[in-house]
Amino acid sequence: MTADQLLTLVVAVLGGALRVGAPFLFVSLGECLTEKSGRINLGLEGVLVLSAMAAFGGAYASGSPWIGVAAGMLAGGLLASLHGVLCSLPRVNDVATGIALMLLGTGLAFDLGKPLIQPQAPQLPALALGGWSASPAVQAALQLNPLLPLGVLLALALGWLLRATRIGLLVRMAGDSADATRALGYSVAGLRIGATTAGGMVAGLGGACLTLFYPGSWNEGISSGQGLIAVALVIFARWSPLRCVGAALLFGGAGALGPALQSVGIGWGYHLFNVVPYLLTLAILVASCRPGRLAAGSPGELSAR
């Protein structure tokens, strides 16, 4: 490999981290909020796929990508609220419900999205931050998703919300001790349904990233497990929205490795490089989990089981 190729590769991976990381950021923020309220939503995988389809459909039908973004949020919120409500029923397990919603969300997205595979929807305008560089590779890599800065702001806002506001305190209390929440006269189910729904709306923004920016079309393989990786990302980020930003960028870079290598002409092992994010997730779980010990920052209700 020549030095020129290496530079292209590094730029492609870094740029890919920003592009591929955007959906990861939103889904992990959504999962973070949900888990802070004491509930796991494995169904975010279904939420991501359904909202990606809804965002694409919304943008295609209305001609405005921003209406598509709103449609994605709405679809994500709706599916996640179903998770929230179902899990509040007695004897309903949230892991099993998450799997069910994963299936339902993908099914709905594939079914309703059938007519959307061919057409082109208007895409979100890119933020071109690479104008200062003469290199076309750098310029292409810095074509930023306009939702990405929004995601960083959202991470800051969510961190502040959970740390310093009354509603954030209530959400954390529902996550740390359902009994204490009940004793103070708040509805645990209500708080969790609210947090799950809001988490689904945030994840819906991730879905919009998938179809309205890079890769920018609707197809049935659009999210292979990104919603689930987010669950592991949250553990890695130790339930802190700010650390989710770094974790998402790391995963974006891992996900961009395969395509980046292909772009410099290394076609070998394309599928193997595509599994890097999953292996990285497993490695991070191995490094950050210990049996019988509470991870720092983990909501008490999640660890009690």
């Binding site: 179902l86 309903v92 799997i99 099914g107 999953y278 497993l282 779980l285 049996p291 019988g292």
Partner: protein, 362 residues
Amino acid sequence: MLRNLLLPVAAVGAALLLFGVFVAGQGASPVEVWATLFKGAFGSGFAWQNTLQRAAPLMLTALCVALPARAGLVVIGGEGALVLGGLACAGLAPALAGAGLAGTVLVCLAGAAAGAAWVALAGWLRQWRGINETISSLLLAYVAIGLFKHLVEGPLRDPASLNKPSTPALAEGLRIGGIAGSDVHWGLALGVAACVAAALWLRWTPSGFSVRVVGGNLRAAQLVGLPATRLILLACALGGAAAGLAGAVEVAAVHTAANASLIAGYGYAGILVAFMARQHPLAIVPVAILFGGFGAAGSLLQRRLGLPDASVLVLQGMAFVLILASEAVRDTDWRRFFAWLFGIVPPPQQQLPARSAPETTP
């Protein structure tokens, strides 16, 4: 017993109703859809053959969920064990091309071993590091699929497979044939036998009983000195072996080579079958036939009524959600509920006591 059966059946009925509403929203007639579903699944000899053929791998992938579940684990990565099982079968097949029935047995065992190792890995990660097995098994499934694609499109590829990368086709003598001249292959018998064997194992053997104790109450199991880690790994390995076997059978009986057709979602549908069967191996058999029927009817829905092929996924998702939600009403006193609904008696003053509350004897 009847009560246990009634609730999931009612949930599937409700899912069919809801699916009717859904397809009506897409402009199809619900009655026609239900009729087509039935016709495509159980309406003719051909439909039955198609249904049973799809039920065979479902039984095995459902065991991949049910057996670890009896040890207290939620494993959802059966798809990974299935594709690796198929890959191991196709990979070993050229070496055994002339070995006849013994060769068939060996390639199937290779598939089972690959699946067993893969799911046991998820169980081991949980016991070693406390990693949630639901997440790790699914991540491992994606890794397995990547590995499968890499090997099938690269080192193991038959150069003659042009448009669809495949491994070399299995030798005639290694393939699994039909039962008495039908299209239903012997994999179905294998699936039923595996379910019966799993039920017998759980019910009658010390290790099966120990696995249930570990799944029922880990604390109690540890107090009486059961080797929980070993038992959990055993349950995972047996479940994974079933899913790996499913992959090997699909290769040896249906596709005759390992290629992308193997990644058909049987592993994920198996989760649904296992949950509907309430993780009981014997109940898996009829439930797998029901869902095999849904799968078989899917293509008919597409051809006759122009619905997308994914509409069956929607039906499955609805069934899954409603089956889980039906758990919430499991202990409801329906006589009292209906009496209250129709205003015969005033509504109950308070919630019924939980199951664990001591009974007050008169």
